[in-house]
Symmetry: C2
Subunit: 281 residues, 2 copies
């Protein structure tokens, strides 16, 4: 159970409020921040669904709310958006500077010594954060949620969905890590070699059985990560298990926020279709 929330900031945006909160996480064993956008129509008597957005390596809670432009579409559709931090930042000493390996929490539950105390972003995102949001905010619907992510967070969105059939109404990913071979330098810190397959989106989708995950993927054709990961193997695996995936390869775009802001509206429309047809109000 999470301790009380502290409000770090609250700013009006597209008629709603963009918040940043901090709380002590029992899962991460440190304080952690998340952003939360409350759309204008949300209230205790008009509860709204929630999209969880998992950001990529090096992002904090700020980039999503500053650079993606999602608030316009969250306000239009009446959807709450929650953006957790990307690693257990407050468990690390302030100096020396944080390394990329320390930032690469990979949305898994670490099992190796030195990492397993705090690096539990998978359980944080799929259990504690959801519980916190649904208990502490009386304007959100229970059990009507979806997940979206970018890059490392796109991998996060995929594996959180694939490992938890029914937890999310749909899933979308901007330029995700389609598999973990290209992220081996980070995985070796966190997970024993024989268990990496349990966190690999391509391997998970190959064996997926369960309700439709309504996966949408947007992928820039000029993205440097295409040289490191293999969307085609991911799609082959989806074909094997006959899992619905909408894969959009788009010419000219690269890996960053300019790509995300261009396609965030389409992604919100995709999520709204599944979140708003729900009876779970």
């Amino acid at each position: 159970m999470s301790s009380d929330l502290q409000t770090i900031s609250a700013v009006k945006c597209f008629g709603g409020q963009q918040f940043i909160y901090s709380h002590y996480s029992e899962t991460l064993k440190c304080t952690s921040k998340f952003s939360l956008y409350c759309p204008p129509q949300a209230s205790e008597s008009n509860k709204v669904p929630v999209i969880y957005f998992l950001s990529g390596l090096t992002s904090s809670v700020k980039e999503l709310i500053q650079q993606s432009g999602f608030q316009k579409y969250a306000a239009q559709h009446g959807i709450c958006v929650v953006g957790p931090d990307t690693f257990p930042r407050d468990a690390l000493p302030i100096s020396p500077p944080i390394t990329r390996a320390q930032m690469a929490a990979m949305y898994v539950d670490a099992e190796t010594p030195g990492w397993s105390d705090h690096y539990k972003m998978y359980s944080y995102v799929t259990v504690e954060l959801i519980k916190t949001i649904e208990e502490k905010f009386n304007f959100v619907q229970k059990d009507n949620r979806s997940v979206m992510g970018h890059s490392m967070g796109g991998h996060g969105a995929l594996i959180c969905s694939l490992r938890n059939p029914g937890l999310y109404k749909c899933c979308s990913a901007f330029a995700p890590l389609y598999n973990l071979e290209g992220a081996a330098e980070f995985m070796v810190n966190l997970i024993q070699a024989e268990n990496v397959k349990d966190w690999d989106a391509t391997k998970l989708i190959r064996n997926y059985k369960g309700p439709s995950l309504n996966i949408r993927i947007d992928q820039g054709a000029e993205d440097y990560i295409l040289g490191m990961f293999s969307p085609d193997r991911f799609l082959s695996a989806a074909l094997e298990s006959k899992t619905t995936v909408s894969f959009n390869l788009i010419e000219g775009y690269d890996h960053g926020w300019f790509f995300i802001k261009t396609f965030i509206e389409d992604n919100f429309n995709h999520h709204a279709k599944f979140l708003k047809s729900s009876n779970n109000h």
Copy 2:
């Protein structure tokens, strides 16, 4: 005349390209960066109008392109958007850290010793930058431009328009400095006391004669700068000279980019009305 442009970055966004360029400015006597968004429909045979966006104190060329979300509307309307840096950054030594006074170039031409060598943002924005854009980019229309700005840059947009009847087809400002009394600490460095009135938007609009400037202002009612500046005196002065101003006071909003991103679409619609009715293609 500007020297050759160097491309710092080029990224696809909403079907167009978001660039950052660097060039040597004869006016500022140092290199200077600007952002330029080229909308998808622009070409040598389909030239487009230009909006110049003047950012506020402490901004570089990055905040506008990352945080305002303007690219969607620039792409919809087919408008090129140019965002200069906010002060002659490269004229300063790299260390010690730059002070707020050094960042506060105020879109004026400084006349005091120690500042007058480089602090000529007014001439840079109204003459050299326009010349550079219209000479170097064959997809922009000549003489079909407007100006928009935020905070210190909102003041910049107002004074550049008010001092140059006909230069811009319209002008809009997010939470501008309506007068210079609240910025006296910066003005004292740049301009002799008896000349400050020549750069004060309230004083300039009181005496304005010329074609309509089509001024639009958006102002958050929770903005802390309302305690430092006086929109009411600016509006009284506009009434005196019968100059068209649309002033929008909006409850709940503060001074920052969350406010700007909420109202950038309305501002682009305002500018498009004047830029696209032009015969100057």
